[in-house]
């Protein structure tokens, strides 16, 4: 494979990717010198900094070469030469939309939420978190990835602990220690990968993901052990059943901004990790252990949905729904099928949009009513009709109603998974039904009926609030109707990744059962979704 095929052409002449990290960092420096007595200035500066970063990520989307499945916008600088560390940043069709999602969700969150106290550190941590998250999605040096992966814990820890509710300190500690424990062995694993590869090739030590993925010299046992160490770290982050117990606590106790970012962006760090450091770096191990992750994924789908149904706290319900939704994404990743993997990638974006919006809406309910108990709420549709309408739209997107974004991802995942891992897909489908159950039931209890007391007086959305959530709603609808611009950028990267897996998994052909024929109607629908038949360039 030639270098130009891997890296693609340089799309822009200036360092676009580093600026996605450096603009938030510069914003933090400005925030540090601002007086803490002026929360309005602080908010404007934080919003401006994150919006500029968001605009840069939108520009990235525009400048991205959609026919190229390789890495683009590559930036490489030596960091520690002796140890082979480098600042290696790049995006491909898989990470592109996660970067854009990050660029979108942070300004929206800052606009939509208010910390109520200690504004200065709040905006500093939030902006710093943006820099760190951008770094994780763009880093292609293993150690650099790990550095960002770990460092994002600190701002999130302070956000949960400093501005959270009730049991915030416990939730923050649990979040930090769980995640750190998960990734502890990851450092050993990534160092071992570099060391073992360098030893077998005789080349100098390198942590370059692309180079290591092309080499593939690890022995089978080593590869499986190393993959498991990586997978443990990601499994905590995703979270996969049974390592999910930190998530309900962290989500429920976190302030709204924390929940939005945690669900919208940070859970994707784990799923993205499985793609980049599982499938790509250790294709053999990932393929032979796929059964494990498929099982955990479908258990998570059903378990998350069942537990969500039982919740009495609205925010906790949304938190458990994340466990179920992330299960779909993992199912799509380990189905080793192009459609399923494309579905997993787009579902990451969809989940970020719809769950992010749900958390914002639940946060607004809490601000108005000072409770999240479903039993204490009721009839809000009468007092806040606009609010109820928007909640309906977001909820339906989360359920996966056709025409909204959630459907596209789940459908692709299920179609793809059905071709390779039929029975897992069958079980996962029940998750779609259960999602309708718990969300509709909760909606019914919160919004239907006759409001009493406080509920009758609940204020509807303010213009500023409406303004902050409209971008999310617009994307929810747009991606539901016309996902092609996203899918056509994801597809080349996914196909290139699967070609890489196929080239490296020796026993793939013998092990793979004959794919069941796809019904004609499904085929047409799939093609329509992908826009392969229309082939048009858009509106």
């Amino acid at each position: 494979m030639s270098a130009s095929m891997i890296f693609g052409a340089q799309n822009v002449s200036w360092p676009l990717l580093p600026s996605l990290i450096l603009v938030p960092v510069a914003t933090v420096l400005v925030l540090l010198v601002l007086p803490k007595s002026r929360p309005d200035y602080l908010k404007v500066v934080a919003l401006a900094g994150t919006s500029v970063t968001g605009a840069l990520s939108a520009y990235l989307l525009w400048a991205f070469n959609k026919s190229d499945g390789g890495l683009q916008f590559v930036v490489r600088e030596a960091w520690v030469e002796d140890l082979g560390l480098q600042w290696f940043l790049a995006v491909d069709g898989i990470s592109l939309f996660l970067v854009v999602l990050t660029g979108l969700l942070f300004p929206v969150t800052i606009l939509a939420t208010d910390p109520h106290h200690d504004h200065k550190p709040y905006y500093i941590w939030l902006t710093l978190l943006m820099a760190g998250t951008m770094g994780v999605f763009m880093a292609l040096d293993m150690l650099l990835f790990f550095v960002f992966f770990e460092v994002v814990l600190v701002p999130m820890y302070f956000l949960i602990g400093g501005w959270g509710h009730g049991n915030r300190v416990y939730a923050a500690l649990k979040f930090f220690i769980f995640t750190m424990a998960g990734s502890a062995l990851m450092l050993v694993a990534l160092v071992s990968t570099a060391v073992l590869t360098a030893r077998s090739t005789g080349n100098p030590l390198t942590f370059d993901v692309v180079e290591l993925a092309q080499t593939q010299t690890l022995g089978r046992t080593a590869e499986i052990l190393i993959f498991l160490a990586f997978a443990l770290g990601f499994a905590v982050k995703v979270p996969l059943f049974p390592l999910h117990t930190w998530l309900p606590d962290a989500h429920t106790e976190a302030p709204t901004a924390g929940s939005v970012i945690l669900a919208g962006v940070m859970l994707k760090l784990g799923a993205y990790g499985y793609i980049r450091f599982g499938l790509y770096l250790f294709p053999n191990a990932a393929h032979s252990l796929a059964w494990l992750f498929l099982t955990l994924a479908v258990v998570g789908i059903v378990y998350g949905a069942v537990v969500a149904t039982m919740q009495t706290d609205l925010k906790r319900l949304v938190a458990y729904s994340s466990v179920a939704h992330m299960g779909f994404i993992i199912l799509g990743i380990f189905a080793f099928n192009s459609l399923a993997l494309q579905g997993a990638v787009i579902q990451m974006v969809n989940h970020g949009l719809s769950t992010g919006a749900l958390f914002i809406l639940v946060g607004w309910i809490y601000e108005r009513r000072h409770t999240r108990e479903i039993s204490a709420l009721g009839g809000l549709q009468r007092s806040a009709p606009l609010f109820a309408g928007i909640f309906t739209l977001v909820m339906l997107s989360s359920i996966g109603l056709p025409g909204l974004n959630g459907f596209v991802g789940e459908f692709l995942i299920l179609i793809g998974a059905f071709q390779t891992v039929q029975w897992f897909a069958v079980v996962a489908t029940t998750g779609v039904i259960l999602a309708a159950l718990y969300l509709l039931w909760a909606f019914q209890r919160v919004f239907h009926g006759t409001p009493d007391g406080e509920n009758a007086k609940m204020a509807d959305l303010r213009v500023s609030e409406l303004f902050s959530i409209v971008p999310l709603l617009a994307l929810i609808v747009f991606l539901g109707i016309y996902p092609k611009p996203v899918l056509e950028r994801i597809e080349p990267a996914v196909n290139q990744l699967l070609a890489h897996v196929e080239a490296n998994v020796q026993e793939l052909d013998q092990q793979e059962p004959e794919a069941p024929p796809v019904p004609a109607g499904v085929q047409q629908l799939t093609e329509a979704l992908e826009g392969t038949e229309t082939g048009g360039e858009g509106e």
Partner: protein, 534 residues
């Protein structure tokens, strides 16, 4: 006249200029006592502290020129070391690196001591004299090429610190700490000395090169052990115990929590930095050089020590409520990491082009430097927070510090996260280097244990962060009462302490972002450690 001159020339030519740092540190201590004895005790002011810091900086200023001489000589004849005083002291990049760290620790401790002694009403020059003498012992230990000299260095280093630990005359805990440290330290010194005697008995030499040369002899069966190896092994084991005690490796760590808790806070800062660095330096030189041929025998013991140290240090730390005890266990855990570095710095039989050893040596040296800087900053905070009487070290007294002292809390939190090994601090780079060295050495289990211990250890630092940032002062009525009773004294951060703290934070962050800052000195020092055996 001419013959007399010729006879005088028989006196070995001692290159005093090579050991200026050692001479300056020990002479400055004596000079300081002499000068201040002529002036009334109350009139000395900040002079002793300034004199000490100036002496340490002067001593450190001789390092670059000596490094240049060492490197020049390496270009000429390939040997990167000088030997002085009848081959009992080696001056090489390793010695000079350790000397630099010790000088830094002395200067920063002197800054901390000045305001501390004024606050406690204990101003007297003995503290500084003992500090410098202890440092000179440390430099001697780090450069010792002979076991007798190593023992002398170790004793100078230790005895001065025993006294320093007990020097807070009004606190009984301080006396107790000094006494405990002395009794246990003396026992370990005795064991260490007995070890030296046994090694001498087995090899007929106290010189490291002599010991190394005498271990194997070539005869018709090839390379065979040249002497009674059981005697030698017992000697090595005893010396290992002595060093393990000094670096506070479990199970020889029992003294550490009590001494750290009782000793005056700035002195503990020096114990955790200067003393630990010197002890590790001696450990490295004696074992990696003198006993390198027997490493199959002692390496498993070092590995076991490392595992026990990591587990004990991290798990016992969790239940502590006194911040100085916490830092004691934290320092034990970090010693475990350093022991892994030492383990990886040994020559492995797997071949390879010297890669793993260099990684191990540079990992431990980087760790020693970055940990010293972090821990001195940490004890700068603890010194301030102890307030008059040096007694308020409960974690509760750190509650809501972020509200009352945002700058102090903000700087402290960087050091705490650095010790927890969070990226973009030197603590992460140190941890990464150790893991890398261990992986190169194929000790994946050691690396894994170290990382898991680091997670448990992180809980310790997070508890302090929680207290400072996430808890309110008025969490319950009991604490309010306690606050009224004792905490009423405001926290005073003198400029000198703030300077130490800022330097420590800046270095910690700078090394985290640019890990190879000033790397060639570190690499040369690490290379020295591996070349000594060739």
């Amino acid at each position: 006249m001419n013959t007399l001159f010729a006879q005088e020339a028989q006196i070995p030519d001692i290159e005093w200029s090579l050991i200026w740092p050692l001479l300056i540190l020990s002479l400055a201590g004596v000079i300081l006592i002499t000068i201040t004895s002529l002036v009334p005790r109350t009139r000395t002011g900040s002079f002793p502290a300034a004199f000490t810091a100036a002496s340490a900086i002067t001593a450190a200023m001789f390092i670059p020129s000596t490094v240049a001489r060492v490197n020049d000589q390496q270009l000429v004849n390939g040997r990167a070391e000088f030997y002085v005083l009848a081959r009992s002291i080696a001056v090489d990049n390793f010695t000079l690196f350790i000397t630099g760290v010790i000088c830094l620790a002395v200067a920063m401790s002197a800054f901390l001591l000045d305001d501390y002694l004024r606050r406690e009403g204990l101003e007297s020059p003995e503290w500084y004299a003992l500090l410098m003498l202890s440092a000179s012992g440390g430099v001697l230990l780090a450069s010792a090429e002979d076991l007798i000299v190593a023992f002398v260095g170790l004793e100078i280093l230790s005895i001065a610190v025993y006294v320093l630990a007990a020097l807070h005359l009004r606190r009984s805990e301080s006396q107790e700490a000094g006494f405990k440290y002395f009794v246990l330290g003396a026992l370990s010194s005795a064991i260490f000395l007995y070890g030296i005697a046994l090694v001498y008995g087995a090899t007929g030499s106290t010189n490291l090169r002599g010991i190394n040369d005498s271990m194997f002899a070539v005869n018709d069966r090839g390379l065979v052990p040249a002497q009674d190896s059981s005697l030698l092994l017992v000697g090595i084991a005893f010396m290992l115990v002595g060093f393990a005690f000094k670096v506070s490796a479990a199970p020889f760590h029992i003294w550490t929590p009590d001494v750290y808790q009782g000793a005056p806070s700035p002195v503990v800062g020096f114990m955790a930095s200067g003393v630990k660095v010197a002890a590790f330096a001696g450990f490295l030189r004696v074992f990696l050089y003198g006993f390198s041929d027997l490493q199959e025998e002692w390496l498993p013991i070092v590995a076991a020590l490392a595992v026990i140290t990591l587990v004990v240090g991290s798990f016992v730390a969790v239940v502590q409520t006194n911040i100085k005890r916490m830092m004691a266990y934290s320092s034990i855990t970090h010693a475990g990491f350093m022991l892994i570095g030492l383990h990886s710095a040994t020559k492995d039989g797997l071949g390879g082009s010297g890669g793993p050893e260099i990684l191990g040596s540079s990992a431990i040296l980087f760790y020693l430097f970055s940990y010293s800087v972090m821990v001195l900053g940490t004890f700068a905070v603890i010194t301030v927070m102890g307030r008059t009487g040096d007694g308020q070290h409960s974690i509760d007294s750190y509650r809501a510090l972020a509200r009352s002292q945002p700058l102090l809390a903000g700087l402290f939190v960087v050091l705490l996260f650095a010790q927890a090994g969070i990226p973009f601090t030197s603590g992460f780079v140190a941890k990464f280097r150790v893991i890398l060295a261990a992986s190169e050495d194929q000790n994946y289990v050691l690396a894994g244990v170290a990382m898991l211990a680091a997670v448990v250890g992180a809980y310790l630092y997070l508890r302090v962060v929680v207290a400072m940032f996430l808890e309110d002062e008025t969490d319950d009525a009991v604490d309010v009462a306690a606050a009224d009773a004792g905490d009423s004294e405001p926290i005073d951060v003198p400029p000198a302490v703030l300077t130490v703290l800022v330097i420590s934070v800046v270095v910690t962050l700078a090394l985290g972002v640019l890990p190879d800052l000033g790397g060639s000195f570190l690499d040369n020092a690490a290379a020295t450690l591996t070349q000594l055996r060739d």
